[in-house]
Amino acid sequence: MDLNERPVIPEPVPTITEPPRAGEAHILSQQGTPLTDRAALEAPTMVSVKDLNLFYGRKQALHGINLEVGKNTVMALIGPSGCGKSTLLRCINRMNDLIDNVRIDGHVRVGQSDIYAPDVDVIGLRMRMGMVFQKSNPFPKSIYENVAYGLRVQGVKNRAVLDEAVERSLISAGLWDEVKDRLNESGLGLSGGQQQRLCIARALAVKPEVLLMDEPCSALDPLATSRIEELIFELKRDFTIVIVTHNMQQAARVSDFTAFFWMGKLIEVGLTEKLFTNPRERMTEDYISGRFG
């Protein structure tokens, strides 16, 4: 008898410890392996946007947005240029107040506070939010003063407190080892990637609750980009992060949830792994696969 056939490999018997409970069934991926931290799904809401409309003059830029971001999670905002990602980000720290002719209705809550309530202390509110922009924008000051800036604005004068905050923030931003011996040199003398991390350190120094990042890596090389992405991963232990990015791979790598916007509307929001493998909406599918238009 010819025995050239492949041996029959006995099929492994799967061990099932217990079936998923009702509440967590939705976080299991198809084969039962959760890719997203369970904690991310159960996180209490940190930022909540409700029925938000925004007008620049007579032009409506955001239409009835409803979005919730859980504490210590990363939410990526994606969508074509002009769809309103930056506008929404600026609603979360009331930066749109600085723009003339803006009208906003709806609610934005951060933690417990309704940030558009009439009695809100806007300056205090912005202190609770760190913001990092596309183009790194260090002040023409020393590295130390760049990081200490927010605290000085808050009136902190105690040198020990400032020193501690500067060191802690630079360590968190992954920049400490590179600059600890040149803290008094100008922030403008750093490389692009270092400058961006300096700006992140500056944002972290005031211990914000929420970190808002608007295309933070778009001017960086792959190495600098991957350092920032690793950093985001670390930072979500302590912060809640909302990041705008045009890089789909980046959104997929760093975020727990992704929200897709189109012409001022929120088209789809969901678990990042779901949205990038099997989006619900055709429009999302076309956009993330580069088929738009």
Binding site: D2, E5, A22, Q31, G32, E285, S289
Partner: protein
Amino acid sequence: MGRHFDNELRDLKFSLLAMAGLVEEMVELARQSFTERSDAKADRVIALDHNVDELELSLDQACIDLLALRAPFASDLRLLASTLKIVPELERIGDHCTNIAKRVKFISAYPHILTAQQIEALGEATHSMVKRAMDAFVNGDAELAKAVIADDDLVDEIYVQVSKDMLQIMLQDPSAIERASHLIILVKNWERIADQATNIAEEVLFILEGVNVKHPYLQKRES
């Protein structure tokens, strides 16, 4: 606006279909070689296996390249991931056909024994499953894929029955033992091919609907 990537995916699909076409031919020839007692057809099956192996290698490489270079998402990603899984299924079907062809050459000198018709039924049902699984892939036909998956039980039933009958024959007529044992292995190969067609149909459902229908007992319950 067309994407260059769409052409690459189309080429990949064509290669996969070429491979499927070859495998289907092997299945059909294997079936005929048994029915017709044809060594020539059995030899053709064995010869085709080499081409299938070559296609497997080139398709594997193409999938890896596209995953790395195009970083696909959504249905593109599901297509590539499923192709990577369908290709080895096809390759194994080719192997099983080769095994069947080898058995046929052992037994072709003897007349059919009792269960020949059932074995032919098995070959036909299995061939139809392979063909329809690939049709479901080509036409994006989820219903057809589901029908293929349902047919697997049918094939299993025939398989169990044939095995029992064969055992009976061996008990009754010890001189048939050698032939019958070749037949048992032959039949087992048909049954495996049906399993593989089922796997392909499951991948097709995954590409189309993004749902994994394997191992229902492990699946989440929709809340």
